[in-house]
């Protein structure tokens, strides 16, 4: 490694017990970006962070590209500036090695995944009916004093369904973790030690996009939340989604027709209060305010933020500030993102 100008060690990762929690009280610098493929802004963002002393001039960044599965570690996925060195944490390959070395754990994991898939099908079936009812109530005309409480109750039911679903997800995962204790197994600990080693002397983390379920499973398998320390984070697309409190899947224009946004998973909770919606213009029916309004009201008070190419949101000293970012309000109107207390 060539000699680099470095700031004093200040934010090194600190190993912690497997907690899944990463409360940082808003102190950590987090940057959420729009998708990088068509309009890469990662390099410029790193340069800007170096300029504001968040990163040292010869920064060494750990990348998480597990969401890209077999392409994990491909430098094209994380195009950094010339003065930055990257090391990929290799979570996807690491999980594959764990599955090979520890068939019992792999079988337990597959079984838990099967249960989660079934639970998800049941949730989506219930959600479809509940969303259809709420939408129909919205179109119903009559005495608003009668109808409005019914609409509000329909919405409450959906919010309760989302909450309950995520509790059931946690319950199924809890049963798996209680039985197989993945974080205490040699196979996982050996990989986690390697990840810790790769995190040594890094100045920040970069979470790329990809398959969000693959990503979050790997993050959880190695309890990456417990290794983040106070390092600054740059994330986009699936990476940004996985770091929030909830992972919400959405697409209003898939070839099989628009579905309902889905409370899919509990995120790492590195930040709260924002619901990142990557590729928003491509994936969302932004020209349908009623539909957008339903999305916003369903997940309030979390703010629905549109992460389109070129977007950048920074959490600075506990507040989110943005360039080019937009948000959706409860009426479904898309407007420039306003500063938000983290």
């Amino acid at each position: 490694m060539t000699a680099k100008a470095r700031t004093p060690a200040r934010s090194r990762p600190r190993p912690s017990p497997a907690s899944g929690s990463n409360q940082d009280a808003g102190a950590r610098r987090i940057v959420l970006l729009g998708p990088q493929r068509d309009r890469p802004t990662l390099a410029d963002t790193i340069i800007a962070l170096k300029g504001s002393d968040v990163l040292p001039s010869g920064a060494r960044l750990a990348t998480v590209t597990a969401g890209w599965q077999d392409r994990e570690g491909d430098p094209e996925l994380t195009p950094v500036d010339a003065g930055t060195e990257v090391v990929d944490l290799g979570l996807y390959a690491g999980a594959n090695r764990v599955a090979e070395a520890d068939p019992d754990l792999a079988a337990g994991h597959h079984d838990a995944q099967r249960r989660l898939r079934e639970l998800r099908r049941a949730y989506n079936l219930r959600l479809r009916g509940a969303m259809s009812t709420w939408t129909s109530l919205g179109a119903m005309t009559g005495d608003e004093r009668v109808l409005e409480p019914e609409r509000a109750d329909a919405l409450s039911s959906i919010r309760a369904l989302d909450t309950r679903h995520l509790a059931r997800v946690a319950e199924i995962r809890g049963v798996y973790e209680e039985r197989f204790r993945p974080h205490e197994r040699d196979s996982v600990q050996a990989e986690r030690a390697g990840i810790e080693q790769r995190l040594e002397d890094t100045d920040g983390l970069v979470f790329a996009g990809g398959h969000v379920a693959t990503l979050i499973n790997r993050l959880r398998m190695f309890d990456l939340a417990g290794l983040l320390g106070e390092l600054p984070i740059i994330a986009w697309s699936a990476g940004a989604m996985a770091l929030g409190a909830r992972v919400v899947l959405f697409h209003d224009r898939p070839p099989w027709g628009p579905g309902n946004a889905e409370a899919f998973e509990i995120g790492l909770g590195v930040f709260d209060g924002l619901l990142p919606l990557p590729h928003a213009t491509a994936r969302l029916a932004l020209d349908e305010p009623e539909r957008m309004g339903r999305l916003s009201r369903r997940f309030r008070p979390t703010v629905c933020v549109l992460l389109d190419p070129g977007t950048r949101l920074d959490r600075v000293e506990g507040r989110w500030v943005a360039e080019e970012a937009r948000q959706v309000d409860q009426r479904g109107t898309v407007s420039p993102f306003g500063a938000l207390a983290a």
């Binding site: 070839p255 099989w256 579905g259």
Partner: protein, 393 residues
């Protein structure tokens, strides 16, 4: 004027002569003028919603032979003056795709030929048809081969069938990036080789997989040996698929174990075969993709539709009387220009009454392989949604 009147169901076309034909008629009808006319225009002449088919050649009678159920199957052309140019104008709704041939009767002999003036053709096991793409119809981009997209590979699996007392050769599509360590959904396709050849199923699978619209999946392409018998609600076929083909595939490929991840597909009599397998074994396949199924039935009496359909009618009559859930989800498609449209429409509420999740799609097309190709994206992605929902690059 009602459109069937405009189309001229009987006799000569009552339609006004198109301006382009009037211009031709007004000029010198010599060979050079006709050559210039044919060179200057694309055919059929399109003035949506009217389309004029043109034929040039010596003939006594020229007719349009098409596969639009609802129009007279034979529509006579009109001769332009004393030239060897003939034409016929038909009103065709937007978004339609129509396959046709031209019947030429000359010196007492009749023959059907492709439209030499129209380069758009479709192939099927019986030959080549000319194609009229009406305003609004576009051949889907996702059905075009793309050298930038990885292609799947094909294996051959031989099943020694006790049900049929013969060997059955099955082609198996493995998706690009296939790995033994993964588990794949399975789709069993009736008339598989025809789907590959005439509906570009291989290209479609490659493209939809690359676009994340369907998951990487293993697809068994099953040819029949005696189609009219085996696909017509034949118990042996269901036994072959469930007791022989499925275990054979599960031995050879890493497949997901649940019915939810298995599907059956077919068109025409192949759709009947797919449905009948699911009907006889309702716990084995979660998804059905049924295209232009020959779901013949009667409410009373005999249909008199030929011996091939007799077992189908018996099966469908029984099912309509006591419908049961045969899969989780069913994608049903049919062309509005095919005679089977009413029977497919009639099946939808019957299927839904059992609690199955049913999606029904009609298209302005006929009973042909390109109609079935054009519905594959909607059907496959609905039955087997790909990781698109999960991937945020």
């Amino acid at each position: 004027m009602a459109w069937h009147e405009a189309a001229g169901l009987e006799g000569e076309s009552p339609m006004p002569v198109p301006a382009t034909i009037q211009e031709l008629e007004a000029g010198d009808l010599d060979a050079a003028a006709i050559d210039a006319f044919l060179e200057a225009h694309a055919f059929p002449l399109a003035e949506p919603p009217f389309y004029t088919f043109v034929y040039r050649g010596a003939a006594d009678v020229v007719r349009l032979r098409h596969w639009i159920f609802g129009l007279a199957t034979s529509l006579p052309f009109t001769r332009v003056g004393r030239s060897d140019v003939w034409y016929r104008t038909v009103e065709i709704p937007d978004d339609s795709r129509v396959e046709y041939k031209i019947e030429v009767v000359s010196r007492g002999k009749a023959g059907w030929v492709a439209d030499d003036l129209n380069p758009q053709v479709a192939r099927d096991p019986f030959g080549t048809n000319s194609v009229l793409a009406a305003r609004g119809y576009e051949e889907p981009e996702w059905a075009q081969s793309d050298p930038g997209v990885s292609a799947g590979s094909f294996d051959e699996l031989v099943i020694e069938s006790r049900a049929f007392e013969s060997s059955r050769r099955v082609m198996v599509y493995r998706p690009p990036g296939f790995r033994d360590a993964r588990k794949y959904p399975l789709l069993v396709v009736h008339d598989g080789p025809e789907y590959l050849e005439y509906s570009r199923l291989g290209v479609v699978l490659d493209r939809l997989t690359a676009a994340l619209e369907i998951p990487a999946m293993v697809v068994a392409l099953v040819p029949p040996q005696d189609r009219m018998e085996e696909y017509a609600a034949d118990e042996r076929h269901a036994r072959f698929v469930v007791e022989e083909l499925l275990p054979g595939l599960e031995d050879a490929y890493p497949l997901r174990e649940s019915a939810h991840s298995r599907g059956l597909m077919g068109a025409s009599l192949g759709a009947v075969a797919a449905f009948d397998v699911a009907r006889r074994h309702p716990d084995r396949f979660g998804a059905l993709l049924l295209q232009s199924g020959s779901f013949a039935f009667t409410d009373i009496g005999d249909a008199e539709r030929g011996s091939v359909l007799e077992p189908v009618i018996r099966m469908m009559n029984g099912y309509r009387e006591a419908p049961v859930r045969v899969a989780e989800r069913v994608f049903l498609s049919v062309g509005v220009y095919e005679p089977l449209v009413s029977e497919n429409r009639a099946l939808v509420p019957v299927l839904r009454s059992t609690g199955m999740d049913v999606r029904f799609v009609e298209a302005r097309d006929g009973h042909n392989w390109e109609n079935w190709r054009d519905r594959l994206r909607a059907g496959l992605s609905w039955l087997f949604p790909g990781p698109l929902w999960m991937v945020y690059e």
